[in-house]
């Protein structure tokens, strides 16, 4: 029994070490965005000057608004298209269904480097070219499978009898969907939408290959800045991004339980 106690205690300690490994670099990066020295020199002296100077950086501001715009449109399109597809998979049996479901995995499993370069070649070849529209095309395709998976998971908990009952009471297909099915799966739809937003807002690789100097997103702009050299301004904008995306995921977790906890 004593050994069990010690082992459990060691286990807990281990988890805290892992959390330190995961979070310490991020915390340090965030702290440095509040430090006076442009060369990250210690001792630490508090300032918000790096955040203030972000407001003067027009390039960064336009990239940020591009990122937000694309993420919002991606979210709307993905939730609409993804929910429709999930409903089709839930309601109907047909030949080739397994195949269509299997087709959702390549976008998730193939490295973004391959997908991104393939999109660049194809969009260039058919005349879409690079730029914000191409980026949007790519983001929706990358996020769509996640939305379908999340909404389908929620649909698994839905009782088909409810749709039957509504139909037998005289509701048509659209009324059934709007009044019965959608309210039930709403948490899944919201979680899927938040996923889509996160996938788009954090996407770097695909945006990188599809952007042009004038039409770019925030992560691409940050990558360019990092390659020029490290500055506390990069820390400041990175800190903002990390806070936003973590807050988004915490919000998502409220609607969607990861890991199938009871």
């Amino acid at each position: 029994m004593a050994t069990t106690r010690i082992l459990e205690w060691l286990g807990r300690l281990y988890i805290w070490l892992l959390l330190a490994f995961l979070y310490l670099p991020i915390v340090i990066m965030a702290l440095m965005s509040f430090n006076v020295s442009p060369f990250y020199q210690l001792p630490f002296e508090w300032t918000t000057e790096w955040y203030a100077s972000l407001w003067q950086n027009d390039q960064l501001i336009s990239a940020t608004s591009n990122s937000i715009e694309i993420a919002v449109i991606t979210t709307i399109l993905c939730t609409a298209l993804g929910t429709a597809a999930s409903l089709a998979f839930y309601r109907y049996e047909f030949r080739g269904k397994k195949f269509l479901q299997a087709l959702l995995f390549p976008p998730i499993a193939i490295p973004w480097l391959i997908t991104g370069t393939a999109m660049l070649i194809f969009f260039f070849g058919v005349g879409i070219g690079r730029g914000l529209f191409a980026i949007l095309l790519g983001h929706v395709a990358l996020a769509l499978p996640y939305v379908i998976v999340v909404v389908s998971a929620r649909l698994q908990t839905f009782a088909p009898e409810l749709e039957e009952a509504a139909r037998s009471l005289g509701a048509n297909q659209w009324q059934v969907t709007r009044r019965v099915t959608l309210p039930w799966i709403m948490p899944g739809v919201i979680a899927g939408g938040l996923f889509a937003f996160a996938v788009s807002f954090d996407q770097f690789v695909v945006s990188y290959f599809l952007s042009t100097p004038g039409q770019t997103t925030l992560p691409v702009e940050i990558y360019a800045a990092i390659r020029k050299g490290f500055t506390p301004e990069i820390n400041a904008v990175s800190t903002i991004i990390i806070v936003v995306s973590m807050a988004l995921m915490l919000l998502t977790a409220r609607f969607f339980k990861f890991g199938g906890e009871k």
Binding site: Y14, L22, Y92, R95, L113, I114, F230, I241, F258
Partner: protein, 289 residues
């Protein structure tokens, strides 16, 4: 009877089609057609749009096999993938075990969320944060020199280990997640039964727990190995001049050298490697599902 089922499924498709069409059209235009186009372009001498004359050729693939550089880099990337995956198993599996079998209730839920939270935050930013820690005169350097009685110079930045550390940090939550899911499904009474029959902890681990959590380990390994082999941003930022891998060479073809046909060929070879790996791991995963 069989005929009845067949008609039923055909009408099912007719009702399902309007709902499925928008999503799958989008995926076709933005994923499946581009991947096919890549195969087409990889066998061209020039881009058709460049205005120059072009023809079909296998030269781009010949380049890969004749110039040792590309093969060497692909092997280096595969080795990096293996190493990162191995570290993720070593670090992630025990953590998943503690989460699934030691922690309980609300604290388990909260810590689980904390572990997988970074996994959805920006990967680029997390790699950049390691640059803050690892660089000379960075936090690690300063902290170690403050504690140790002698002067040491940490020079991890712009080296192979820096790339490995950054990638492990990026991908270890995947391993915790997949292993946690399979470990959670192992019945506690099974472990108690084994223990009461006299099996030692180590025997339980080797004979029961690891075999039963194999699907999670394999899924995690595939989820980590595949993107690491195709990584280019992480080696660029943390590896500096030592950070040349297969992914960075592909990046160069598209953004610096502008030899798109060669880039497409290199990408396609990587895709083939990835598909072989996914095919090899899928039987284990299917057995779990």
């Amino acid at each position: 009877m069989a005929e009845h089922v067949a008609t039923g499924s055909r009408s099912g498709l007719r009702s399902a089609l309007p709902l499925l069409l928008p999503a799958y059209l989008w995926l076709t235009v933005a994923i499946f057609l581009p991947l096919s186009a890549m195969v087409f372009f990889s066998s061209m001498t020039e881009l058709p749009l460049s205005g120059k004359a072009w023809s079909f050729t296998l030269e781009n693939y010949a380049t890969f096999f004749s110039e040792r550089l590309y093969l060497t880099l692909l092997l280096a990337s595969l080795r990096l993938g293996l190493e990162v995956t191995l570290w993720c198993v070593v670090i992630g599996f025990p953590a998943a075990y503690v989460l699934a079998k030691v922690l309980k209730g609300r604290s388990r839920e909260a810590i689980f969320l904390l572990v997988i939270l970074p996994f959805w935050s920006n990967g680029l930013v997390r790699i950049f944060s390691w640059a803050m820690v690892l660089r000379e005169g960075g936090i690690l350097d300063t902290a170690l020199n403050a504690v140790l009685p002698f002067k040491i110079n940490i020079d991890v930045m712009y080296s192979y280990p820096a790339v490995v550390i950054g990638l492990v940090h990026s991908y270890v939550p995947y391993m915790v997640l997949t292993c946690y899911l399979t470990l959670q499904a192992i019945d506690d009474s099974l472990i108690e039964a084994g223990r009461s029959l006299g099996a030692s902890r180590l025997q339980m681990l080797r004979r029961v727990i690891i075999p039963l959590s194999m699907p999670g380990l394999v899924a995690g390994a595939a989820l980590i190995f595949v993107p690491v082999v195709g990584s280019f941003m992480e080696p660029r930022i943390l590896g500096g001049r030592t950070g040349t891998f297969y992914g960075t060479v592909i990046e160069d073809q598209f953004v610096a050298v502008f030899n798109w046909p060669l880039g497409a060929a290199l990408s396609f070879i990587l895709l083939a490697v990835v598909l072989v790996i996914l095919a090899l791991t899928s039987p284990v995963l299917r057995r779990a599902a």
